[in-house]
Amino acid sequence: MTKLTDLTIAEALKQLGKSEISAHQLTEAHLAAMENARALNAFIVETPELAIARAKAADGHRHRGEAGPLEGIPLAIKDLFCTRGVQTTAGSKILKGFVPTYESTVTANLFRDGAVMLGKANLDEFAMGSSNMTSAYGAVESPWRRKGDNRPLVPGGSSGGSAAAVAARLAPGATGTDTGGSIRQPAAFCGIVGMKPTYGRCSRWGIVAFASSLDQAGPFARTVEDCAIMLKSMAGFDPKDSTSVDLPVPDYQAAVGRSIKGLKIGVPREYRVDGMPAEIDSLWRQGEAWLRDAGAETVEISLPHTRYALATYYIVAPAECSSNLARYDGVRYGLRVPGKDLTELYEGTRAEGFGAEVKRRILIGTYVLSAGYFDAYYIKAQKVRALIARDFEQAFQSCDLVLTPTAPSAAFAIGEKSDDPIAMYLNDVFTVPASLAGLPGISVPAGLDAAGLPLGLQLLGRPFDEETVIAGAAALEKAAAFSAVPQVMAA
């Protein structure tokens, strides 16, 4: 019998359904795994009592024939989702001890469907980062190690804790958020599946805001099917979110295994960047071959404004975040550093409460919105953004999915790349364009690099066509047959 912590969500649901296992057992097993893997620092807060109570309740529901689609499935919840009665920090000192009196819509949806929360997963502070090194609660270690090298590696970011937890089998699934790649990139680094739905698919209500026009909640899991199952619960119209789109949620699980015969897969020539590692390039071509074998057709497409996507993102996202983070001021909640007057209170609280990367982005954002620079930077960036979105619109007239690598490298060591902010920003080069255009995207583990580290392939789809993205991803997943497991796993 498979170890409980090796079960996928789909498998666990089957066994729970047949009463072969109980939700209580399943949760206990994962809690034990979490205890053994504390060195990874994947969780900011573990919630074992809450988890056991919910798991028992799930068993009760199932017993009474009231099982929801995720009844009894334990999940790690990125500490960016406000969870009622449980500390929510956004990975920041400024929210240490903050306990929301409300539940985010996405987590409410998951709990409505029976999911069990194991704890709040670690993340880059305020979701800003691609390495999970900026968390005020310590860096997260990837459960992967390079062959013959014991240096701890980053899990990617910002949803590093979520990705590490799923990869290390501490949870079969986790929630993340993706603003510029914060689900897809850590999924690639950790050898798991991660999905960013179309902007507006999942509600942002109750998720600590970073960049409002880009943030989207999404699932991590070890299989495409599991992500589909999670997304079905997470997604849905929310009248409390003005940017939430009122469209019915399809049965995403049904898209898994759907044939991709006749689908056109676009391969954007501009993504073949200078200095791209040969391994990644060859894996990309391998991905094309896999999809052709499954009956799809590959076609070269052009996304001419691709090279400007990062610069666009690093104007728009900081601009929005500089305003979104103004509410963290020591007045109504969170950290307060006393001051002799209000200004001192603000300046001292925010100086101590925010980490370096967050400060950097707030300052960049404040600058690009300030008088005299607004047109040259912010307006200009929003115009380029329009062009990037148009590129995709036009490309999707000749293809149904776009295939790219997810990240320009495998995971790097903790501490590497930390001097130059721009070097860190380049991690997002393949994921950012889809964020700017609001498109759905998924990363599927496709292979290992020479050092034995996971590499991912990304599929992007049309707005609200998650089903085709899932179908394509399932085909890739089947062909890749990625079975490697991390070196550092819970016993």
């Binding site: 406000c82 929510t88 956004a90 929210l95 903050f98 929301p100 009196t101 409300y102 985010s104 942002r204 209500w205 109750g206 998720i207 600590v208 805001a209 960049a211 409002s212 026009s213 009248p239 409390k240 979110d241 003005s242 940017t243 601009a319 929005e320 500089s322 305003s323 983070l325 103004a326 509410r327 001021d329 007045v331 109504r332 909640y333 209000l342 603000y346 404040t366 919105l369 300030s370 008088a371 607004f374 912010y378």
Partner: protein, 485 residues
């Protein structure tokens, strides 16, 4: 009419613009479902969105949008079918988000006009530049504690309409007239209660001075003028302050000043260097607002008759003077009361006189509004009927009116109870006249020999003897006959 100020170097003209913040009448706030009532216990009318808790998002109140459209139509303004909410970023204790959701480049309403009524009876058109919707801030109380300021967020998020005038006003009187008229229009529309005491309508004054015909000078903004009287006083003070500076060779610093009512001066606010770079940008939590023609039409059909139109109608149909009509339409409740008194059948001028001089005069003295009148419109109408059919005289009517005010009783019952019916029986009047003439035979003789002035004496005596109830016209008529001999 420009009111020029005499300075050392010649005459100066004031250029005045007003920015009015009007709280929208609605049940819930602009972007959240918290209630909007005034005066609740601190922080009991605050939603998570108003408190700017992490992860909170705004959703737009449909009724507030309609109220803004209604106001725009009432100001004869252009309604912008596409408008955008933007964030105005700054830090203050009662601004939880660290930004105010407002409208900047694309307001919901564009240019309009207000006709103002000046003391000399003339009118002037003052331009309205725009109207936009925005969130109100909470309240900071600085006087509750020695070393702390207390913040109450009840008001945070309530919908405001910011109405900006063109810099068309040229005197304190014009500014006062503008505020009064705007307030009346808002109250007629039911979009704002115009209560300056409670802060549901606030004015900021923008003022600069110039020699007539010269280009605009540098202006200053004056805040905290929360009554029409203060607006006028602040304008007078600030104009002179600026003139003095310029005449002494200085330059006006563009700044925000506070009106200090106690000292009667404007003071510079502790401005902070480049403090007010608001970094406006479209709010990414909201989508552009698009209004459809059907909605605008529906709101247009719901517009009440506005004060200017009502005044014209009273003047045309009822022959009222501009002044009288103006007094009646200043508050919709007054105009409604008046029309109820008319009930389509009574003399409009007489009714106007009674409502304005007698009723409003009395209510003013006791500090009440027409809504609190102890005499109902129907009741007053009844009194007028008794007057019209000569049941009582004008003098008696005034007494009855006073009694109605005091007791709340109806006119007819008071007349009956006190036996105040006018005496119109010529026989009875003749009897009284005869008695008076008999008692004052000497005066009769004097009158007959030419002392015409004594006629008034006889009238007075007859009225007194009849307890004031004799019909004055008949008394006059009969007295003349009898005295003539």
């Amino acid at each position: 009419m420009a009111e020029l100020i005499e300075g050392q170097t010649g005459q100066w003209e004031m250029v005045i613009g007003l920015e009015v913040h009007a709280q929208v009448i609605s049940k819930s706030k602009l972007f959240s479902g918290a209630p909007t009532e005034f005066g609740g216990d601190p922080n009991t009318q605050v939603s998570l969105v108003d408190a700017a808790m992490p992860g909170m998002l705004p959703v737009l109140n449909e009724y507030c949008v309609e109220q803004a459209v209604k106001t725009g139509l009432g100001l004869n303004a252009q309604i912008n079918k596409l408008s955008v909410f933007e964030r105005k970023n700054y830090f203050y204790a009662d601004l939880p988000q660290g930004y105010q959701i407002s409208q900047y480049a694309h307001p919901i309403v564009g240019k309009g006009t207000i006709e103002i009524d000046l003391p000399d009876g003339s009118t002037r058109a003052i331009g309205v530049t725009r109207l936009h919707l925005e969130q109100d801030a909470g309240k900071s109380l600085h006087d509750q504690h020695a070393t702390k300021t207390f913040v109450d967020l009840n008001r945070s998020g309530v919908a405001l309409m910011e109405i900006v005038s063109e810099p068309d006003m040229r005197s304190a009187d014009e500014a006062a007239a503008y505020v009064r008229k705007l307030r009346t229009i808002l109250r007629y529309l039911g979009t704002c209660d115009g209560n300056m005491d409670e802060g549901s309508m606030r004015c900021d004054v923008n003022l600069s001075v110039r020699k007539p015909g010269a280009p605009y000078g540098t202006r200053c903004e004056i805040k905290n003028v929360n009554s029409v009287r203060y607006i006028q006083a602040a304008i007078e003070y600030e104009a002179r302050r600026q003139i003095e500076i310029i005449e002494e060779g200085g330059a006006i610093v563009q700044e925000t000043r506070l009106w200090d009512a106690r000292q009667g001066v404007t003071r510079s606010m502790r401005s902070k260097e480049e403090a007010f770079d608001y970094r406006y940008f479209p709010d990414p939590d909201l989508l552009p607002l698009e209004l459809d023609d059907a909605m605008i039409e529906r709101v247009r059909l719901e517009l009440p008759e506005l004060p200017d139109a009502k005044r014209r109608r009273f003047m045309q149909n009822s022959g009222l003077s501009a002044y009288d009509a103006g007094v009646l339409v200043a508050e919709q409740a007054r105009a409604d009361f008046y029309e109820k008194v008319l009930a389509g059948k009574r003399d409009p001028k007489i009714a106007a006189n009674w409502v304005i001089t007698e009723l409003l005069g009395a209510l003013n003295k006791s500090g009440h509004d027409i809504e609190q009148s102890p005499i109902s419109a129907e009741s007053l109408g009844e009194l007028l009927d008794l007057l019209a059919d000569n049941t009582i005289s004008g003098r008696i009517a005034k007494d009855v009116f006073a009694e109605m005010l005091a007791s709340g009783k109806g006119a007819a019952s008071i007349v009956e109870e006190k036996g105040l019916r006018q005496v119109t029986d010529t026989g009875a009047i003749d009897a009284v006249i005869d008695a008076v003439m008999a008692k004052n035979a000497d005066k009769v003789a004097e009158y007959r020999s030419g002392k015409d002035k004594l006629f008034g004496f006889f009238v007075g005596q007859v009225m007194r003897e009849s307890g004031g109830k004799a019909n004055p016209a008949l008394v006059n008529e009969q007295l003349k006959k009898k005295l003539a001999g």
